[in-house]
Amino acid sequence: MTTMVMEREAPTLTATPWELVYQRPAALTDLPTHYCPGCSHGAIHRMVAEVIDELGIRERTIGVAPVGCAVFAYKYFNLDSCEAAHGRAPAMATGLKRVRPDRIVFTYQGDGDLASIGGNEILHAALRGEQITVIFVNNAVYGMTGGQMAPTTIAGMKTTSSPMGRDVLTQGYPIHIPELLAPMPGVAYAVRRSMHAVAEMRKVKKAIRMAFQAQLQGVGFSIVEILGACPTNWHVSPTDALDYIRDRMLPEYPVGDFKVDARLRD
């Protein structure tokens, strides 16, 4: 990482000048994001960008943005990128990667995008063992359209389209994507992480790094599901949203490694 030495004198007892140790990753633009307070998308964007910087792959990485709250991810990532139709990012990424196998291609998708309308695309990209990386943010709702039920909505959870709470008998059961994809031979890395605490966030970043590493090593398809907060549509404060993840989402969606290819090196 490059460090910048500031001209100003540090107001501390030491004579060492201030050192800038925290700055915007090169893989992020300086555009302020449109995300709500407490939303996890911004922090996850940053972690993805940091990993891209650390791996030194910014110049050859291509991002595929979803339809969902992260639709403008292409404005925030300082990368070549494109905007897929709702749920089709894995197919688009397949097309990109197949004609440019020397490039690093990743999709960034929400749970409605990936697990509902794009169920077929993600399933078959994983089945084929596409050498792509999928960053999958599960906030249990359709955020962008105003908090409707998603396939990931937990039983009993109230949303604008399950106002009495999700009734699994009539509205179906929550879907567990990494568990579903992990047994597929083409999948090299399938894990779930959570954004509900700082220690957990460190593990999120590490998993994102491993997922890109899988693609760099060419060992197969990689996906990280990240439990993220949506205070706006959950109608709770940003801090309560983190507790909501811990207390309500984690029991349904345990963090864990469902597949880690033995060839993967950190």
Binding site: D80, E83, A91, G95, R98, N120, R128
Partner: protein, 359 residues
């Protein structure tokens, strides 16, 4: 170059390969499947990309992705599959990346059947997806013409950054005819400046069809429309057969146009001065050329393998200057030359009657 006997679908595939296609993504559907199967064999041999997608939705979005990377990308399908591709086509049009698509049309609606049809005319020329756009639609009538149009399709697609559709039907896809294939052109090495290749040494390239601001999206649309107007002006293609002295005109495209040629000869043998106007580009429709003929003919017969689609364009162009009769067969039924010829005879008789000749 030697003339060889080729099946339509396979000739289209080989022509695409010789035109330098980098990547093919597709999904099986009759009567188009031989194209996909041919690609499955040949593309890997040449070190190019072939992938059987999980669906036509997958296929068109893979084409979208590969096209974003600057590759010559294509897919092929038949009517029900084209319906599934509409979403992707709209995004591709909105983000202005080039691609080529082949539609070997079959009978509809619904699952219909696997016989030849032309009922995708509206879908391809008018409503290939939501929003305002038209693909460039080329309708060959012979296997040789299918090869020739495929040969220029990628250049057209890249020149205008637009979708080019080769619209054939089950008869063309399945028939064998002698063709001369063009020489092999290597796949593209250079990538267009707009392509997604990684930001190495430049600002990011972004490919999107999303513009939340109304004024901005209107500007995008105005630019798209200006481009379509350029295509409409420059890319009209048609063929005239015995139209110079024609009193009566048949307008038909693709397979039906071949049948209409025979009908025109039959009518001429019976003393009726008939001619054939065959649109090759369905969009842009060759309106000025037909307009000139419409100004001096006594009647027009439009024959299609659908319930009456292109006839709407023809009526708009003829504007009541001559009667327009429609002959349509659907469900995969191919009209016979005599059916078209008898439409011409009928028209000629009515015309003679109106002019006082009761002989």
């Amino acid at each position: 170059m030697a003339r060889e006997l080729w099946k339509g679908n396979e000739a289209l595939a080989e022509a695409a390969i010789r035109a330098g296609v980098d990547a093919f993504f597709g999904y099986p559907i009759t009567p188009q499947t031989e194209l996909l199967e041919y690609m499955a064999r040949r593309m890997p041999e040449l070190g190019r990309t072939f992938l059987q997608a999980e669906s036509e939705i997958g296929a068109i979005n893979m084409v979208y992705g590969a096209a974003c990377a600057g590759a010559r990308a294509m897919t092929s399908s038949s009517s029900p599959g084209i319906s599934l591709m509409q979403e992707g086509l709209s995004y591709i049009a909105g983000s202005e990346v080039p691609c080529v698509l082949v539609d070997i049309m079959r009978g509809g609606p619904g699952l219909g059947n696997i016989q030849p049809g032309q009922a995708d005319y509206f879908q391809l020329t008018r409503s290939a997806g939501h929003g305002d756009f038209h693909p460039l639609v080329l309708a060959p009538a012979t296997v040789q013409e299918a090869v020739d149009l495929m040969t220029i399709s990628f250049d057209l697609a890249f020149q205008y950054r637009t979708i080019v559709i080769i619209a054939g039907d089950g008869a063309l896809g399945q028939m064998m005819e002698p063709v001369t294939l063009p020489p092999m052109r290597p796949p593209r090495q250079e990538r267009p400046a707009w392509a997604l290749t990684g930001v190495d040494g430049r600002q990011p390239n972004i490919i999107t069809s999303l513009y939340l601001d109304a004024d901005e999206l209107e500007q995008v649309n105005l630019r798209l429309q200006a481009k379509l107007a350029r295509i409409a002006a420059a890319e009209q293609r048609w063929e005239c057969y015995l139209t110079d002295d024609a009193d009566f005109l048949v307008v038909a495209f693709g397979t039906v146009a071949r049948i209409a040629r025979t009908a025109v000869r039959t009518a001429r043998a019976a003393g009726i001065r008939a001619g054939l106007f065959r649109p090759i580009s369905l969009w842009p429709f060759p309106a000025p050329a037909l307009d000139q003929l419409a100004a001096r003919v006594k009647g027009v017969v439009v024959a299609e393998m659908n319930a009456g689609q292109m006839v709407e364009d023809v009526r708009l162009i003829v504007r009541g200057r001559a009667p327009v009769r429609f002959l349509g067969r659907t469900g995969g039924v191919i009209p016979l030359p005599d059916e078209i010829a008898s439409e011409l005879t009928h028209m000629a008789r009515i015309d003679a009657h109106a002019n006082g000749d009761r002989g």
